[in-house]
């Protein structure tokens, strides 16, 4: 009797132990040990552990990018890079927390550039920092916004949309990038239309567009390209200064014949879109650490091995340096008042 009791206790202890080890080891756990040091002036990170915070739960695009870049960044720094998922407040929670982090570069975050920068400019609720305060390390990937309509609609070009009446954009809700872009397109192009909110992410929006419940949506080129190639959605416009190489026949918004005020709005919108998916650090990073991180991230993003991997995952990398991001921050600070007002409207309708 007591023997059996003993046995079952032992069995339990064993199982419990096996269980424990992975229970805790939940979500994020990719850690990457470095092999060999990085650049000469980066000794301060050697053997250090850098936490790269993803402000969303695992499985999304930001998470995928962060996990893809982490091992290569670790190699450049000569330390460890560890992913930590911290979702909340549509990505704002993690960035707000980052602001209070020790400014030594051991805690960084990938962020939703358009969402956070737009929110900061609009002084939206929940944004508890100034954009200028963030230390911009660099942008790992752009998010080229495109404007698409349903494959079954009669809209063949932006002119058709401008000429039409009651155009409906699908969006998840105020403050989301698809909302900001749609709102701005309505304003800049003078579209007679409105934004239908409440869709649960771009997937549900896409389905609504394909079904014809709504007429179109704005979204990243990366996530729209499948639907475009399948003919489910038709591209109208790339919201950028130049055309996208994937869609050589689709006009860029900067090509359109716009008056001066509309052009200024367009410029600011493109500046905002340029933030894409940046990696940022807390305010007040010392100069040497910041420049080291910038250099390390750049060589990681531009390393052929990572580029090949990114190509395979169909998650293209497009580097933009921290300096250039700082420039965008300055330019956006001086953006026309109308742009800021438009953003404010997009974040809090009334």
């Amino acid at each position: 009797m007591s023997d059996r009791k003993h046995q079952s206790r032992f069995l339990f202890a064993l199982l419990g132990v096996v269980a424990l080890f992975a229970t805790g080891c939940d979500s994020a756990g990719t850690s990457t040990e470095a092999a060999g040091g990085g650049g000469g002036d980066c000794s301060m990170f050697e053997g250090e552990t850098v936490k790269l915070v993803v402000p969303y739960s695992p499985g999304g695009g930001y998470d995928a990018y962060a996990r893809m870049v982490a091992p290569h960044l670790a190699k450049e720094l000569g330390g460890k890079v560890v992913i930590e998922n911290q979702d909340g407040a549509g990505g704002l929670l993690a960035i707000n927390n980052l602001m209070a982090a020790e400014p030594d570069g051991t805690r960084l975050a990938i962020m939703n550039g358009v969402g956070v920068a737009g929110g900061a400019l609009a002084d939206a609720e929940g944004v508890r920092f100034d954009l200028q305060d963030l230390s911009m390390i660099g942008r790992v990937a752009e998010q080229k916004p495109v404007f698409v309509v349903g494959g079954g609609t009669d809209y063949k070009s932006v002119e058709d949309v401008q000429a039409g009446k009651g155009f409906r954009f699908a969006s998840t809700g105020p403050g989301a990038a698809d909302f900001v872009n749609a709102q701005m397109l309505i304003q800049i192009l003078g579209i007679d239309g409105r934004v239908v909110t409440g869709f649960d992410g771009s997937d549900e929006s896409e389905l609504a567009v394909v079904r014809g419940d709504v007429d179109g949506q704005t979204g990243d080129l990366d996530s729209r390209i499948d639907a475009i190639e399948a003919g489910d959605q038709r591209p109208m416009l790339v919201i950028d200064a130049e055309r996208a190489k994937e869609l050589p026949d689709v006009p860029a918004i900067a090509e359109l014949d716009l008056d001066q005020q509309e052009q200024e709005l367009t410029k600011s919108l493109i500046d905002l879109s340029a933030f894409g998916r940046p990696i940022v650090g807390p305010p007040g990073l010392p100069e040497d650490r910041l420049s080291c991180l910038r250099k390390a991230l750049q060589s990681a993003v531009e390393s052929p091995k990572l580029l090949a991997e990114a190509d395979k995952q169909q998650r293209p990398l497009t580097w933009l340096s921290g300096d250039e991001l700082d420039d965008r921050v300055k330019r956006l600070a001086d953006a026309p008042a109308e742009f800021k007002r438009g953003l404010k409207d997009a974040y809090e309708q009334k």
């Binding site: 419990g16 132990v17 080890f21 080891c25 979500s27």
Partner: protein, 176 residues
């Protein structure tokens, strides 16, 4: 009618009334809180809170009626069979355990839970797990030293090694 059938009417439990009152308060608060929002934001919560208030009021009225009938019935049937209405719960059921555990047992259990989670928040998981395991097994479980120490050491050690060192996943780290 109650008098005629003379079916037992159980007494109203104070806890039920308190819960209903609590929910009523929540719904009233929600309704008032919703007033400051724009129409589309407040429409659904307002509707919901109003329904909740209605349900709570009906429920409370029901309790009132039940209490009245119980008194009527009790006067008729005499007092001796009063508390027999509850069904026979077997001693393994959670209702039975919650209902019969003594105040000291409750206090002890809640104290352990408080200690565990407070320690988790303050000292983090890697300190809490082995220490709590050891303390709980020794004191609450009156287990032998050997078993407790092995359990605690293995649990803490594995957690630390695999989660802390090998995978470096986020864990409640404590405030230090």
């Amino acid at each position: 009618m109650v008098a005629r059938t003379a079916r037992p009417v159980p007494a109203v439990r104070a806890g039920d009334v308190v819960i209903a009152l609590f929910l009523l308060a929540v719904f009233v608060f929600a309704y008032l809180h919703a007033q400051e929002w724009p129409f589309r934001t407040r429409f659904f919560p307002e509707l919901l809170a109003a329904a909740g208030i209605a349900f709570a009021v009906i429920k409370l009225a029901g309790f009132g009626l039940q209490a009245y009938r119980h008194r009527q019935w009790a006067r008729q049937a005499g007092d001796e069979t009063d508390e027999q209405a509850d069904e026979q719960a077997d001693e393994h059921s959670i209702e039975y355990v919650f209902g019969t555990a003594g105040g000291r047992a409750w206090l002890a259990a809640l104290a352990w839970v408080t200690v565990f989670f407070t320690s988790l928040l303050v000292f983090g998981v890697f300190i809490t797990v082995p220490l709590f395991t050891l303390a709980y097994l020794k004191i609450a479980g009156s287990a032998g030293w050997l078993g407790s120490v092995i359990y605690a050491a293995v649990a803490g050690g594995l957690l630390w090694f695999v989660c802390g060192e090998l995978l470096a996943v986020p864990m409640p780290a404590g405030i230090f």
